[in-house]
């Protein structure tokens, strides 16, 4: 076949203009419905909430005229909102490291093969599959001053009745929340860290052992760097969950005593669904979204995961 004949044949095989256009755009056309649904489901409520946050819709007023930044300026004067953000930060700052530590210690305990290991692991993971509202209600019973087993155990060891009002006394109310939170979510950390620890390079560990490296040295120089990405992701997931914490606190204290344990999620719920400050609640939500976006971006950047 001559060169010109080959070129002619290739010219004939080349798809038409419509065909080329279809070929180029077909992938987009295929994913378009999914994108459209995602936009409708995800973006529409977001945009709608943003519009509502610039209006003045309350329990009795359906005022849809735009009021500018009125709701946003109110946010800065709302001491209860800032207090609730502070409570959220306290719970996150204490619970997250504790969950990580407990999860890590549990993972260390179960890294070696032992009889019945799988059964123990399955049992330890049970708290994470319980609904947080049920966990909170269960712990409320556990902390009950008359019938709760915790009081009874403490009384047994103290040799006299120990009556701690866990959900009333300001000194105990945060420990109560954190105990419940750590009990429920440490197994999540445990699972992730157990998987990560199982994948640490055994040859490095054996070499360190031969060289006589201490446990802490091995941990600092080999284990932690190896599992750091998993720790980072686990902390990010749990950190975001903790910022949204609602159910456990609702079941345990309902934000009390007073507003002492009211987190930003509880406050948003009260404003939106109990007091019907619809526009103001939308403004709170956007403040929280903005704060979370900034924090997450900074954390991701710090972890070099943003890439």
């Amino acid at each position: 076949m001559t060169l010109s004949a080959s070129l002619n044949a290739a010219e004939q095989r080349r798809p038409s203009r419509f065909g080329r256009m279809l070929e180029e755009r077909l992938p987009y056309l295929i994913v378009a419905p999914a994108i459209l649904i995602l936009l409708l489901v995800g973006l529409f409520p977001l945009i709608y909430s943003l519009i509502v946050s610039f209006q003045r819709i309350t329990m009795t007023e359906n005022d849809t005229s735009l009021v500018g930044l009125l709701n946003y300026s109110e946010l800065f004067r709302d001491t209860r909102l800032w207090a609730s953000l502070g409570h959220t930060a306290i719970i996150t700052a204490i619970a997250l490291p504790l969950e990580l530590l407990v999860g890590f210690l549990m993972a260390q305990l179960f890294i070696d093969r032992m009889p019945g290991r799988q059964i123990f692991v399955a049992l330890l993971v049970l708290p994470t599959v319980i609904s947080p509202i049920v966990a909170g209600a269960t712990w409320r019973l556990m902390f009950d001053v008359r019938f709760g087993p915790i009081g009874q155990i403490l009384s047994f060891f103290a040799g006299e009745p120990v009556r701690i009002l866990w959900t009333v006394n300001p000194a105990y109310v945060y420990p109560a929340i954190i105990i419940c939170e750590v009990w429920q979510w440490s197994p999540f950390m445990f699972l992730l860290l157990l998987a990560a620890l199982s994948n640490v390079d055994q040859s490095q560990l054996e070499a360190a052992e031969i060289d006589g490296a201490s446990y802490l040295r091995v941990l600092r120089a080999i284990v932690l760097p190896a599992i750091a990405p998993v720790i980072a992701v686990a902390c990010l997931i749990r950190g975001l969950d903790l910022v949204r914490i609602f159910d456990i606190i609702w079941a345990l204290t309902e934000g009390g005593p007073g507003s002492m344990t009211e987190t930003v999620s509880l406050y948003t719920y009260v404003q939106g669904f109990s007091q019907f400050e619809t526009s103001y609640t939308a403004a709170i939500s956007f403040l929280v979204i903005a704060l979370l976006t900034v924090i997450t971006t900074l954390v991701l950047k710090r972890m070099e995961l943003a890439r």
């Binding site: 329990m59 009795t60 359906n62 001053v145 007073g258």
Partner: protein, 478 residues
Amino acid sequence: MKFRRFLGAFAVLVLATGSAQAADKDAADTAVEAAKKYAGTTISIVWEAGLQSLDPLNYSGPQWEKLTGIKVKVVEVPTDQMFTKIMQDFKSGAGAYDALNVIPSWMPDLARAGALEPLDKYVDKFGYREELQDIAAAYRDNQMQYDGKIYGFPDDGDVMLLYYRKDIFEDPKMKDEFKAKFGYELAPPKDWKQFDEIGQFITDKMAPKVYGAGFFRTAPYPQYMFQERFRMEGGKFFNADSMKATVNGEVGLKVFKQMLAENKFMPPGVEQWNFVDNLAAFLQGTTAMTISWPPYGRWAAGYGSGEEALKWVPKSQVAGKVGYALTPLGRPELGVGFDLSVSATSKNKEAAYLFIQWLNSKKTSLERVQLPYTLRDPFRLSHYASEKYRALWPDAPAYLDTIKTSGEKGLLDLSLLQQDKYDEAMTKAISSLWAGEDPKAILDRMAQQFDAITDKVGIENQKAVYKVWAAKPGAYPQ
């Protein structure tokens, strides 16, 4: 001419017969007859979840269907979410609910929002006005109307009663020792000082077997107790001219300090007690006095103890030993209550109205307030006087008489625009009180929150509503 006269006479005869027949028919029968044309439809009604809703689920709903062919769908909602659900339905325009249970203090908000259907035209159309006069004045005059229109029928005679252990109060040894110590008879306390002295005395003598008193200390009850005691000690919630909150004065402080001090002679952990904790303690004989809603009295007497639905109620150890009295200072809080209303967005307004008229009528309501497993309390004069009810247990006449007197003297719950916000501020303040925060600081914060709410609602708007509320006989003790 003769024929015309005959026609005239015939017309008069027909009208007279018709009127006589109408007069014979009570409001329940009228509602049933009129509702038959809606046979085959379904109406939904919002009802408080739990025991309350066993009334429409087990009794009134099936009865109504049998009588009229209209099905009743009961939407059970926890008390603290009822307002939210009603408003959500109204705001969305979904019309998911036809009839509603409404807490009377919400009526200004719901009526102003347009969520409730005015009922006057139905009341006249179906001849219900006369039977409404049988509802005790405290409820009829204060919990039925807003801005001159009927928005709901009072359907629950909620009022606080003092329950006390007659066997302890009548024990000769206790009586003698008490009189020797305090110089007056051991009897139901007339004021809070007496209450505290009696409570402490019984605790000192009988604890840990029996404590002087126990209260339901978690939300919402303590804020009703605060409202009652604050007013009875001479407190006013607001300055009527400026609408500035005045809850943080000397009276508020005195009441807060007293309420806190009382926990000391109550069982350990009383700060965490809810309705059931307090009920269980009283029924088991652990507390000698308590204040609560009327069902405590029925259950303490053992009424309905064989009912499947009441299996969770501890078997009363104090049946026949319980006395009933007015709360100290003699003007008990009416505390919550329920109205039956029609949703403004209902697609079956007339059928919904006829159902609530039938429920609320003399005949049907008398049966409903005697259902042992629900929480509806007597609210009609005919209920208090009912021979059938008075024969239910030996002390039932004393129980009904105390409810009647308490209702007559009852203090209304504060009812303003966005009342739930004021209620929330009070509830949170009392929860801080149990946590040991400085009472004055709590009251100052509560007053600030009241002012912030009033500012947001609009001072003039709120002032007008407060003026109407404060002018009612049950708002402040005269």
